[in-house]
């Protein structure tokens, strides 16, 4: 009977597509310009300004018109990876320094560039990129630094794989250690800083973590730097090898588990820039949620975070694939459109272009999606963007869970280990038909809970655009939030 209903539904309702709800608009620079976008922000007059891996900075005039114009604001920067407007200056992170620049005479050309801080050395290794800056509530500029891969022709450098905070007077303080390839850093609307890190040695799969003062994020590369008196926190310990990530803290008390894991391939491969949807609905039904670019998959994923006890956690949802090239930067403009800065140089991507600049524009319709997923003491609550078919949404068989975690080890990435299949014991649809409470047996703290809500339909029989969600359950809420 159920199978019959499902078959009918599939038969009559055409599949929907991501692009129907979020259209990609491409911006084309003048011929000869290589626009490997590595930073995007907006000037006071709302014009976009982007930097590129080749060290150029462009202001874009008529950005939404037929023929956007790219004005060369500055060049000669070394691998700038982020832009931040502040007090009339544009702050920019280069390989060897945090700089700020400005145009004094209004001709859209840089007139001066000041070195704010160059207190970290560099070794001449290609992978020593720096990300940010982000202006934190403490008034300091935060950046994250990659660890090198391979030759260091100018010698091994300190403070690789760190989050560094730089005061306006240029004083630098290393704040967090053990990062690997922290390609995205952003401030949340409530002030905490988050960063993304990429799968590899000591990182089981891509992750999103809160930056905590003195926190250690698992990679031993940079630990030697902490002998320097600039490091004022507990010295990180050498991490244990081949243990489950949830168990690292047992021997490394300053180790920080991520808020969210991004299961490999299912939700991306290389998470980079991130931006909170502060558009209050201009970008569709996901206001307040987090959007993250993926370099390899040329895609954007969506994350709904929640705080349980003293831990951040939440769910990852696929959102929009099929962009032109690897998405390493995302930024919301004042119109509520999501700008995507793209490059795949050196790493490859599923996109068919080597670089690009695109905007994702909400077309106004409401896709049928799991809007958010919240943990309960004995299960999860799913909130949908449309009213659901009550009969189907009440069936336990409409949902399937798997759970697993990752190894903390030197090997490159980790398999999903210690797998189990939590059982949905009860599914109850709320009166407004917009949410469902799932009572689930076999929840495990510290594990990813992968949900396939394949059986859920909206009232007109539409399937979910993305029936999958990946919830990192760091902590179970107390019983007051339990399912009925």
């Amino acid at each position: 009977m159920i199978a019959f209903v499902l078959a009918l539904a599939q038969h009559f309702v055409a599949p929907e597509s991501e692009a129907a709800y979020y259209r990609a608009e491409k911006l084309t620079p003048p011929a000869g310009t290589v626009l490997e976008v590595s930073g995007i922000t907006f000037l006071e007059d709302e014009r976009p300004i982007v930097c590129t891996r080749r060290g150029q900075v462009f202001v874009i005039d008529d950005a939404y018109g037929e023929k956007p114009r790219f004005e060369l604001f500055c060049e000669g920067l070394q691998e700038p990876m982020g832009l931040l407007p502040h007090e009339g200056w544009i702050y920019v992170t280069q390989r060897g320094e945090l700089s700020r620049m400005r145009d004094l005479d209004g001709d859209d050309r840089v007139d001066e560039l000041e070195t704010v801080c160059d207190a970290w050395p560099i070794s001449g290794n290609y992978h020593e990129y720096n990300f940010g800056p982000v202006l934190a509530d403490d008034g300091r500029f935060w950046i994250t630094t990659n660890k090198p891969f391979g030759d260091e022709p100018f010698g091994r450098a300190k403070w690789r794989g760190f989050a560094l905070a730089i005061a306006p007077d240029g004083t630098m303080q290393p704040m967090c250690a053990g990062l690997r390839s922290p390609a995205g850093i952003a401030k949340s609307p409530w002030g905490e800083l988050f960063y993304t890190d990429n799968q590899g040695e000591w990182v089981g799969t891509g992750k999103l973590s809160v930056l905590v003062d003195g926190g250690f994020y698992g990679h031993p590369w940079g630990i030697f730097s902490c002998a320097d008196p600039l490091w004022t926190f507990t010295k990180p310990c050498e991490p244990p090898n081949e243990v489950k990530s949830v168990d690292v803290r047992a021997t490394c008390p300053t180790y920080e588990l991520p808020a969210v894991w991004f299961p490999y391939d299912k939700t991306g491969r290389s998470q980079c820039g991130l931006a909170w949807d502060t558009t209050e609905g201009k970008f569709g039904p996901f206001a307040g949620q987090l959007f993250i670019g993926d370099q390899y998959q040329a895609s954007v994923v969506r994350v709904a975070l929640e705080r349980v006890g003293d831990r951040w956690q939440g769910a990852v949802f696929p959102f929009r694939k099929g962009l032109s090239s690897g998405v390493i930067r995302v930024a919301f403009d004042a119109r509520g459109e999501l700008w995507c800065g793209e490059t795949d140089r050196g790493w490859g991507s599923l996109g068919t272009e080597p670089w690009g600049l695109e905007r994702l524009v909400w077309t106004g319709g409401t896709p049928f999606e799991i809007r958010t997923m919240r943990a309960l003491a004995d299960g999860f609550e799913l909130e949908f963007t449309r009213a659901v078919d009550v009969e189907l949404a009440s069936l336990e068989a409409s949902y399937r869970f798997e759970s697993y975690t990752y190894l903390h080890h030197e090997g490159y990435g980790s398999d999903e280990v210690d797998r189990a299949a939590p059982r949905v014991a009860l599914a109850s649809v709320a009166a407004d038909r917009r949410s469902v409470r799932l009572s689930v047996e076999g929840l495990r703290e510290g594990y990813v809970h992968e949900l396939h809500a394949d059986g859920v339909r909206d009232e007109r029989g539409h399937k979910l655009l993305h029936p999958d969600a990946y919830y990192t359950l760091n902590a179970l809420p107390r019983a007051s939030r339990s399912a009925r």
Binding site: E75, L113, I122, G150, P153, F154, Y296, L350, E353, P354
Partner: protein
């Protein structure tokens, strides 16, 4: 749990390391190893000859031989060598030992001490090689990974030279002659063709270095002395590889420095200099070799300069970052015919270019402990009796030696003894009439389980079992995993190193797993790999060993039979048009294979993943399809791309406009393309049109940030319309170089992951000396400080863009803020360089001096004539030879000409004048060259 299931096989010592899970497999391996068949005939088994003893006298310390023959299992637990002497009556036992030792010492003798002196650097080299090329997986490490982080000369001497902890062989220092051990390590199969010790393709120098390291506890004395050790060769060389490929040196000695060469022939000779170089300040060091003919220079085992080949005097330089402390230095040099010359110079950070100074050079003299080896020829009668004994005890059955007659009794064949396998050698307490093998209970059980299978016609049928036996027998499992067994074990993983850190994770340092290898690789390629003729992973430090044919000849067929039996073979007919579609798919607008894979030696844009030009020779097409469809299905989920995306319930390719985005059809096209092998035309985007990287200078100056050789990794290049360009080192606040013509093409900085060190790309390059532009000097002739940047009190402030787009660099020295604008000035012929400075201080300043030196390395006449210090007469213009000059254009002071070291400098004392609250100096100079 895992360990107990795994087939953990140490090649030599079952007793210590456990044995395979199936007793009969372990027994079969043991049966072969113990050479049972050499005495007990076995129908289906080949003889298992032991190592040749033809050179026993030259190779082994007689004292060791005696100990070994008397109690082999005490010397080396787990050895297949039986104790043949113990069963003899006590008084005969001693006699037999005397005779056997005398006889063996007569073969190839006498025992010799090392023929050459050796140096610490060779010892260090052997130590590194032993722990990286693949000795450790079978023989266990001799030092911890942590200890290996420091060079041997940084360890305490008694630690450095301590005898090794017992591993799988007795301390070679008590057994081997260094030279003979080196020969054995180099060509193990020559001495023991049927053995399990494989060749690791060591060259003579490498083999000797490892032999020295292994015998290090025989070193009696180490003295550190000044100067470098050298070895002198007299042969017609055409190049100067390290160790001259095992050539025999005719003389060795010590030189204080490279001022003069030691005595040598007129032509056809070579030198190798080794020792330690002391570095007092960490940083980038530049070395220069000027030679006729070729020369090379290594530091810490890494080649820094290759100035090799036959040529007239020619200089080449190289840079390397060195930590403070001592570093291993090696210089080779050869002369073919004609004139000869060798100069070795360096430039330490913040220092001037100079010959390598004697006070920074040292070497270790290591003296071998003289061993008490009888030099007199052994008594011929004793030798004769030893020969007889060698035959009578049956030694000769394993160690064939010419002139020895086998007179031992013949026991029953293996099938026959299987029926009463609790007797003879396999008895719990073997009778005195048989050799003693010291089998423990497990070994006996395993052998008993295997014996009935010998000659069983069914035995050869189970190919999977045969693979297990062969892989266990040659201990392939020490490096390779297959079917859940083997692979680098946890304790040894640190010794598997990558030669280059290529962001490949463990795949960049572990030998590959062999699961499904027969379905993946063509049997012919497996054969090539096993014969040492196929290396697809040049980044692994661990080398693929070459085993004797009898150990591995069956493997290619067996792998194919076991792994590929359920996969339908594919052999699609060649389709040229489809191959072209595949080429497009491999390129930048397709699936972009070029991001990670090389193509016939043309490097990928990213990591050095497998070369696709070699795929057709190696990979089976059906496996290729499987891999591309789903990398997880062949265990390559994390590193290989999964290209296909699910769209409306169907897998489709992200490349929409090719072959209907159908993954299978696209894979077929890619196969057609890679099947072109060495004739593959390159995909689009791999070799990029140079124009994509060319920075064109139009009406406005162009600026690019780069890593720059000889400067810092924070260097800005400025290209000017006047076709004269600059490199400015931001980190060190100094002008590095100026050149004319071509400005910059950015492949090194922007192609793939890039990270190259850039150099001036045009012509007529003017290099400025590596020193700070300003210094606090009481007298203009005082020595110029060597420090740069922050160390010299400088601070980077940034830059401004002037009205025509030229960068004005801003930096501070102490409390003086300096703005520097360097730009070309059109003039007939070629542009000059105008350097404009404005300095601002909050106080009166009188001791600041600016310096311009001539082109690096150009010495003026005054220098040549031996004058030093400040030359008489202040001037507005200083000429450097005929080539270049500097002229003061607008300055309130004149140049002093100063000879500093062996260079002429123009030094300008800076005159400040009050301006409002502050004090300001402005001046301009012009450089012509």
């Amino acid at each position: 749990m895992f360990a107990s299931l795994a087939l953990v096989v140490s090649s030599f010592a079952f007793a210590q390391h456990g044995s395979p899970d199936e007793p009969s497999v372990a027994g079969e391996v043991r049966l072969a190893r113990s050479g049972c068949v050499n005495c007990h005939a076995g129908r289906a088994m080949e003889r298992e000859p032991g190592p040749s003893l033809e050179r026993a006298g030259a190779s082994f310390d007689p004292a060791f031989l005696r100990k070994w023959l008397a109690a082999p299992h005490a010397v080396k637990p787990g050895t297949p060598m039986p104790d043949l002497v113990s069963p003899l009556p006590a008084e005969e036992r001693e006699r037999a030992l005397d005779e056997l030792v005398a006889f063996l010492c007569s073969r190839g003798g006498p025992f010799e001490e090392p023929t050459r002196a050796f140096d610490a650097s060779e010892l260090e080299r052997g130590r590194r090689l032993y722990h990286s090329v693949g000795c450790v997986p079978c023989h266990a490490p001799q030092e911890s990974v942590v200890d290996l982080e420091a060079p041997i000369w940084d360890l305490a001497l008694d630690t450095a030279l301590a005898p090794h902890v017992a591993t799988s062989f007795p301390d070679p220092a008590t057994k081997w002659s260094v030279d003979e051990l080196a020969k054995f390590l180099r060509e193990p199969l020559e001495r023991h063709p049927a053995g399990r010790m494989p060749s690791l393709a060591l060259d003579a120098g490498e083999a000797r270095a490892i032999a020295l390291y292994l015998c290090r506890s025989a070193v009696a004395e180490v003295v550190e002395r000044p100067g470098l050790a050298f070895e002198y060769f007299e042969e017609p060389f055409a190049s100067a590889p390290r160790g001259f490929q095992g050539a025999k040196s005719v003389r060795s000695g010590v030189i204080a420095d490279f001022e003069t060469l030691p005595e040598h022939a007129d032509d056809s000779f070579g030198f190798q200099f080794t020792g330690l170089l002391e570095v007092t300040e960490a940083g980038v060091h530049r070395f220069t070799l000027r030679s006729d003919d070729g020369s090379r220079l290594w530091l810490d085992g890494k080649q820094v300069i290759d100035n090799d080949g036959q040529h007239a005097p020619q200089a080449k330089s190289g840079e390397v970052w060195l930590a403070k402390g001592r570093h291993e230095l090696c210089v080779t040099f050869f002369e073919s015919a004609g004139g000869e010359e060798l100069a070795v110079r360096w430039q330490p950070p913040n220092g001037a270019e100079a010959p390598l100074p004697a006070e920074r050079l040292a070497h270790w003299e290591l003296e071998a402990r003289p061993r008490e080896v009888p030099r007199a020829a052994p008594d011929p009668a004793l030798v004769a009796r030893g020969r007889e004994r060698f035959g009578a005890l049956g030694c000769v059955r394993c160690h064939e030696l010419e002139g020895v007659v086998d007179s031992a009794s013949k026991p029953g064949d293996l099938r026959a003894i299987a029926a009463h396998a609790d007797r003879g050698c396999l008895a719990e307490v073997p009778p005195p009439t048989v050799p003693h093998y010291a089998f423990d209970a497990r070994a006996r059980d395993e052998l008993r389980a295997a014996l009935p299978l010998v000659g069983d016609p069914q035995r050869g049928v189970d190919d999977a079992r045969r693979i297990a036996v062969l892989l266990a027998d040659s201990n392939c499992f020490a490096c390779h995993a297959r079917s859940g067994r083997g692979g680098p074990d946890e304790t040894n993983q640190g010794y598997f190193r990558a030669l280059v850190d290529a962001d490949l994770g463990n795949e960049g340092r572990f030998p590959p797993a062999l699961d499904g290898v027969g379905a993946k690789l063509h049997a012919a390629w497996i054969e090539k790999v096993l014969a040492g003729r196929g290396v697809e992973r040049p980044y692994l430090a661990t080398r693929m060993p070459v085993f004797g044919e009898r150990r591995v000849a069956e493997l290619p067929r067996l792998f194919a039979a076991v792994d590929a039996h359920d996969v339908a073979p594919k052999s699609p007919p060649f389709d040229e048009a489809l191959a072209e579609v595949g080429r497009k798919l491999a390129g930048e607008k397709g699936l972009a294979c070029i991001q990670c894979h090389s193509f016939n030696g043309t490097k990928s844009l990213g990591i050095p993943a497998v070369d696709l030009g070699h795929v057709v020779e190696r990979i089976r097409p059906e496996w290729f399809e499987k891999l591309l469809l789903d990398p997880k299905s062949v265990g390559m989920n994390s590193r290989m791309s999964t290209f296909w995306v699910e769209d409306a319930g169907k897998l489709t390719s992200p490349v929409k406009d090719v072959l209907d985005a159908d993954p299978r059809r696209q894979i077929d096209a890619l196969w057609q393309y890679v099947s072109l092998g060495r004739s593959m035309p390159l995909p689009d985007g791999l070799v990029v049109a140079k124009t994509q990287y060319e920075v064109e200078v139009g009406r406005e100056p162009r600026i690019v940030g780069v890593f720059f050789a000889g400067a810092s990794p924070r260097t800005m290049l400025v290209g000017f319309p006047e076709r004269t360009h600059l490199a400015f080192d931001v980190e060190h606040s100094r002008l590095v170089a100026a050149w004319r013509g071509h400005f910059f093409s950015g492949e090194g900085t922007w192609l793939g992951r890039a990270g190259g060190l850039e150099k001036p790309q045009g012509e007529s390059v003017l290099e400025f000396p590596r020193r700070a532009p300003f210094a606090w000097l009481a007298q203009p002739g005082d020595p110029w400080p060597n420090e740069l940047g922050e160390d010299a009190g400088y601070r980077v402030l940034g830059w401004k863009r002037d009205a025509v787009g030229r960068p004005v660099f801003r930096y501070a020295l102490g409390d003086v803020v300096i703005e520097e604008l360097d730009h070309p000035l059109l003039s007939p012929g070629s542009a000059r360089l105008r350097r404009v400075f404005e300095l601002r201080a909050p106080r009166p300043v009188s001791d600041l001096v600016f310096a311009v030196a001539g082109p690096s390395g150009t010495a003026a006449d005054e220098v040549a004539s031996g004058l030093g210090g400040v030359l008489p007469g202040a001037t507005d213009e200083v000429r450097f030879g005929d080539e270049s000059s500097v002229r003061s254009v607008a300055a309130r002071s004149k140049f002093y000409r100063v000879v500093d070291g062996d260079e002429l400098e123009a030094r300008l004392p800076i005159v400040f004048e009050p301006q409002g609250e502050s004090f300001v100096a402005r001046f301009e100079v012009e450089v012509s060259w």
